[in-house]
């Protein structure tokens, strides 16, 4: 199990977070009735700058929220999306929960581990192939249920969905990522990189308005709606006018 680097952040490291990050941190705080609620989005924010949550990132959040470093560390270590080591350009998450695994998810994960490994050793969970942050570098992880079971086996790259995968389609995808290509997800926005999506998870979508229109309606998603449409099945007709119930008497 990896732990956070425990030495204090140096001034140079803290400077990684420039004025724009400070401004964003303050904008996050302003969203909530109480400042501490800003901590989860703020951890996504520091991760968008550094590609992981570093000791400097923890100190930054603590400073912004008037918490101790220990309080922030305790939160950051609880959640799997906060990465303790620098991530690759892309984060590939393969669902290996029961249903996806039964449909081939375990094979996909094994194939990718083998392909991304080196010296005959498969790549481990949350390990990175290539130099973290460099183009073509990939961090691999197995994930729990990604809530796309009708489209299994699924994987995500930077949290965009690639549905109905096989070991060979997943391998092609990862090879393309390594060579600098960015194949479009089945559902989601055009692929960017791990750090950019972390900024979106912190709630900042500037210059990404068109991302909203990325595809979402897989055949599976609208299957029931389509059958109903074809057969002319609808819910019972709503009455033309409905009165609200009388105001209940106070007890």
């Amino acid at each position: 199990m990896t732990t956070f680097d425990e030495r204090p952040a140096t001034a140079a490291e803290t400077e990684v977070f420039g004025q724009d990050t400070v401004d964003r941190a303050r904008a996050i705080i302003a969203r909530y009735p109480r400042s501490r609620s800003a901590l989860l989005p703020m951890l996504h924010l520091v991760q968008s700058v550094q590609g992981h949550v570093s000791q400097a990132g923890i100190a930054f959040c603590a400073q912004q929220l008037d918490l101790s470093n220990a309080e922030v560390s305790a939160v950051a270590t609880f959640y799997t999306m906060y990465k303790r080591k620098p991530c690759g350009e892309h984060l590939v998450s393969v669902c290996t929960n029961t249903l996806c695994a039964a449909l081939g998810g375990d094979d996909i994960y094994a194939k990718l581990r083998e392909h991304l490994g080196s010296d005959g050793k498969p790549l481990g969970h949350e390990e990175t192939s290539g130099t973290p942050g460099e183009p073509g570098s990939i961090t691999l992880e197995h994930a729990e249920c990604l809530a796309a079971c009708d489209l299994g086996p699924v994987l995500q790259v930077n949290y965009e969905y690639y549905d109905n995968q096989t070991a060979s389609s997943a391998l092609e995808l990862v090879k393309a990522l390594q060579s600098g290509q960015k194949p479009a997800p089945t559902r989601g926005a055009p692929l960017s990189d791990f750090r950019k999506v972390e900024l979106q998870l912190a709630g900042f979508f500037e210059d990404n308005e068109s991302d909203v229109d990325g595809p979402s309606a897989a055949a599976e998603t609208v299957r029931g709606a389509k059958i109903a449409n074809e057969k002319g099945w609808t819910a019972p007709r709503e009455p033309d006018s409905v009165e609200f119930p009388a105001l209940p008497e106070k007890k």
Partner: protein
Amino acid sequence: MTNEVSPLTPVLTKRWLSPRSWTIGTYEQLEGYTALRKALKAHPDQLIQLCKDSGLRGRGGAGFPTGMKWGFIPQGDGKPHYLVINADEGEPGTCKDIPLMMADPHSLVEGIIITSYAIRANFAAIYVRGEALHCIRRLNAAVKEAYAAGYLGKDILGSGFDLDVVVHAGAGAYICGEETALLDSLEGRRGQPRLKPPFPATSGLYESPTVVNNVETIASVPFIVNGGSDWFRTMGRDRSPGPKIYSLSGHVTNPGQYEAPMGTTLRDLLELAGGMKDGIPLKFWTPGGSSTPLFTAEHLDVPLDFEGAAEAGSMLGTTALQIFNETVSVPWAVMKWTEFYKHESCGKCTPCREGTYWLTQILQRMVRGEGTPADIETLLDICDNVLGRSFCALGDGAVSPITSGIKYFKDEFLALCETNAVSTGKHALAGAH
């Protein structure tokens, strides 16, 4: 009103085929925000009564009556009230809220505004699972559009009612789908469940009265306001009324989302989904995610509503129907689910933390072919020590696949031990290596 209700009843899913269904333009063309205009003219207590009359029950798994939950919020208490939407969809098999939020985010936003008005909340948060990035985008855009249109912010449509909504991304923890863990997480803490009571209705977010409701529940509200409680009750069964999004996944010909009246059976749904994939027979399935005890081919005609599933020995859960054919080993599937619960146990309560840890080891050993028949008794004994002994229901969910798997498929567990006895003649102890 027709007497005969169709096999599929698209309500929540009826806009999903419309072009750019996620935009406010499409939404308003298709009756969007008409319920809000009506609701703001009613007294908030009339809306709570309407919700009670409709019989709407929580779509997040537990099926608690929604109107009753709203009614528990103390009024005139001088405290701020909050509405929190549980959009942390992660129960294995469950994949209904994510397509809903992608396809029709405004139905959730409209439901939030009406509900907040009813419970007198001026701040609402949508806690979305971090991995559901595309939903987060769509929800953010929808909230922004709603502000621009005057449906959110100060003095909404001249009613004097103010509401702010924030879309909050989680960070990867299944436990945050448990409502009190979700509240702790939303307060910027580790997502660990709270001891109840006090319940969120009196001491929720920031120790103030809070309603926590699932996405599908709140997205149903505008339809109930427009259609009325009698209309809502034309679908489903007496104690579980309304339509429900059933998610079929696994070894079926056409997996996907099917919105049908509550109480629809797997037999009916399988027919719509083209039957079992490649004609390989059904072996086992979950009615509502992995935390609901398994069903088998015997249960094809169980009405899938809260009462029907419970009477047959399971739970309706999230109507996530994970369907497995005869090629899948039950002990293997149970082991995989147990590994999941072990990973996601937050560690706060000893029976769940330690129990899931040891259950996993025993199951892994059995699947490796190194188990003994005594392991089955040990598994059941540990399950007995986990069930009902922790703050939240994660541990209860963890034992469901094991106890139901052994109940229906004990022979398969025993068969694994047979191989062991023949091949090695000795048995290892779990954790002894």
